[in-house]
């Protein structure tokens, strides 16, 4: 079957154009992340000149800026980026794998599971540091397994998995409230962190484990990019294309849950970032190919921007999860209404 050369050239040209559009979108998202990061460092309650910020970052002792930038703003911005990347990437991986935007870890109870375990480890077991993260990862995987087991009958049915997940999520949230209400030093701030997420009080030395988790689990997930893309064609087609479905599922679940649990142990289950990042990234003009990287960057943007809004642009101060929660809720309702109309998956 021979082919006219112009047709082949046109095909190659179009593919290259798609690829460069995709690179442009990623570069744009990256620069928005960088800009918001810089904004967080420079302008808070007070203004710090970029020069001073850079000197603080280089480790110089800058009177009047050292503490604000080095101890308050920088850890906050770093945690926002790392948590945002983790939620965005992990959430999109679940949504792609299960072919359903509602199948995001923060909707189906995985984030609340990690959060409940973190609260339990901190309040009841008096643990801190990486031990809390280990608890969160174990609980996240446990919830994933539980939701899967409760909803699988002749294979996993999308809508049932989501309903079961929403139920499990609600139970876990009341568990979080129960544990917090018995805690001696119970504060509204803490409660909000574990229920909706917050980057308050971040400390730089806590960021290393999160960074390592993101690099490890994120790398693992990205190595499955092509298999995940094939899964979007349905399991039968993907398997016929040579994807090992069960193995891909396990790798994706472990990596995504691991990433999300680490971030949750630090920042709480920042509301709807995992849920929103993928769909927002998918709607960016020129977005094509795998959504994983654009969704991760979108997650970082959501957390940085949400935290900045919550701190400085609203009449009183709110943790980031309240802002992203207000953003995500209407979309959640929209999707549920759509399920209701179609009587099946959205």
């Amino acid at each position: 079957m021979t082919l006219p050369a112009p047709a082949l050239d046109a095909l190659i040209g179009n593919r290259r154009r798609r690829l460069s559009r995709r690179r442009l979108v990623i570069a744009l998202l990256l620069s928005i992340v960088a800009a918001l990061f810089a904004l967080t460092l420079v302008l808070g309650q007070s203004y710090t000149s970029p020069g001073d910020v850079i000197r603080v970052l280089l480790g110089e002792d800058v009177p009047g800026a050292g503490f604000t930038v080095g101890q308050l703003r920088l850890p906050r911005a770093v945690l926002s980026v790392l948590a945002g990347l983790s939620f965005g990437l992990g959430g999109a991986a679940f949504q792609i794998m299960l072919r359903n935007p509602l199948a995001s870890p923060d909707i189906i109870g995985i984030s609340s599971g990690a959060s409940a375990a973190a609260v339990f480890a901190i309040v009841v077991l008096s643990l801190d540091g990486p031990a809390v993260s280990v608890f969160a990862v174990a609980a996240g995987l446990g919830v994933a397994l539980l939701v899967y087991a409760l909803s699988s009958r002749n294979g996993v049915a999308g809508t049932r998995l989501i309903l079961v997940g929403i139920g499990v999520s609600a139970m876990l949230e009341s568990f979080i409230l129960y544990v917090l209400s018995g805690a001696p030093a119970w504060t509204l701030q803490e409660a909000l962190r574990w229920l909706t997420g917050s980057v308050n009080g971040a400390q730089l030395d806590q960021m290393l484990p999160l960074l390592v988790a993101l690099a490890g689990f994120g790398g693992l997930l990205l190595s499955r990019t092509r298999d995940l893309e094939a899964l979007r064609l349905g399991e039968d087609t993907a398997a016929a294309l040579g994807v090992r479905i069960a193995r891909t599922r396990i790798v994706v679940i472990v990596a995504a849950v691991g990433m999300i649990a680490f971030a949750t142990a630090m920042a709480g289950p920042i509301a709807f970032v995992a849920f929103l990042s993928g769909p927002i990234a998918a709607r960016l003009p020129g977005s094509n190919g795998s959504l994983l990287v654009p969704a991760a960057l979108t997650g970082a943007i959501l957390v940085l921007a949400g935290d900045y809004c919550g701190q400085f642009l609203l009449p009183s101060r709110y943790p980031v999860g309240v802002v992203t929660g207000a953003l995500g809720a209407p979309y959640l309702i929209f999707l549920i209404v759509r399920i209701n109309r179609s009587g099946g998956s959205p």
Partner: protein, 277 residues
């Protein structure tokens, strides 16, 4: 192109407790077109799924060139054996070119670069299915026939020597059905691709098959040349339907004319053609 022997021996498979295939033996003719027919829910799709390792056999095995397909690395198997499922899913907004390029999956490693060879395979698949003009159009904007051609193009881009297709003509009007079947026959004749497909329409099955396979109750009921398999006796047993078989003057293949309870001519000749099928 090498010819491959795909066979099942004593193949039993099912879902949960339900046994759907029950000790099925089938030897696909290499380099030929095999068409599987049978009543709804008799296990045709299940057979194709078992033959392409989508479900594991309970008993018996599926052999490719004498080797159990469960012992062949999945990527390698996917370079030899392709499957177009009954209802494949197109991701929202995907273009035809993008869809077709996914057929290259088994030819690429996790991080391998897209090569000119990949581009050529995609272009050839688009050309063979006459979907080049549609390449940049989103799948959700195409007609049923165009969409089906795009799916077949994806399967062609996979460049397998054996291709299984589950009801590739469902939902197509008659001219598009013929177009798809002609396309698959071209593929079989020019490249020697071994084709196994499930078809609903018995007359099209008899016309395009080198080997016709009738399934009933999870087993092969009959198997052979169309004129051997499409008989009044077999139609009665497989579909529970009375019929007349005549010979198609164009193709020389058998044609099945169903006999219902109504619209009988008084001299008891075969039913008059009232409405088009």
């Amino acid at each position: 192109m090498t010819l491959h022997a795909l066979t099942t021996s004593g193949l039993s498979a099912g879902y949960g407790d339900a046994v759907i295939l029950d000790g099925l033996d089938l030897a696909v003719l290499p380099g030929r077109i095999t068409v599987i027919v049978g009543a709804n829910a008799c296990g045709k799709s299940t057979l194709l799924r078992a033959m392409s390792r989508l479900i594991a056999p309970r008993r018996g095995q599926v052999l490719l060139d004498g080797k159990s397909i469960h012992h062949i690395p999945s990527r390698e198997l996917a370079r030899t054996l392709g499957l177009l499922p009954q209802s494949p899913i197109a991701p929202e907004g995907i273009t035809v070119a993008d869809l077709v390029s996914r057929g290259r999956h088994p030819h690429q490693g996790a991080f391998a670069r897209w090569t000119r060879g990949d581009d050529e395979a995609v272009a050839a698949a688009l050309a063979a299915t006459r979907t080049i003009e549609l390449a940049e159009r989103p799948m959700d904007e195409l007609s049923g026939g165009q969409r089906q051609r795009a799916w077949i193009a994806m399967a062609l881009a996979q460049q397998t020597e054996v291709l299984l297709l589950d009801e590739p003509t469902t939902f197509l009007d008659i001219s598009h059905q013929i177009e798809v079947l002609d396309l698959l026959t071209d593929l079989n004749q020019t490249r020697g691709t071994t084709i196994v497909m499930v078809l609903h329409d018995l007359n099209l099955a008899a016309r395009y098959a080198d080997e016709l396979v009738a399934m009933a109750g999870g087993r092969l009921y009959a198997c052979g040349r169309p004129e051997e398999v499409l008989t009044e006796h077999n139609v009665r047993h497989v579909f529970g339907l009375e019929s007349r078989i005549i010979i198609d003057p164009t193709s020389g293949r058998p044609i099945m004319l169903p006999i219902g309870r109504h619209r009988m001519a008084t001299d008891s000749r075969p039913a008059r053609s009232g409405h088009p099928d």
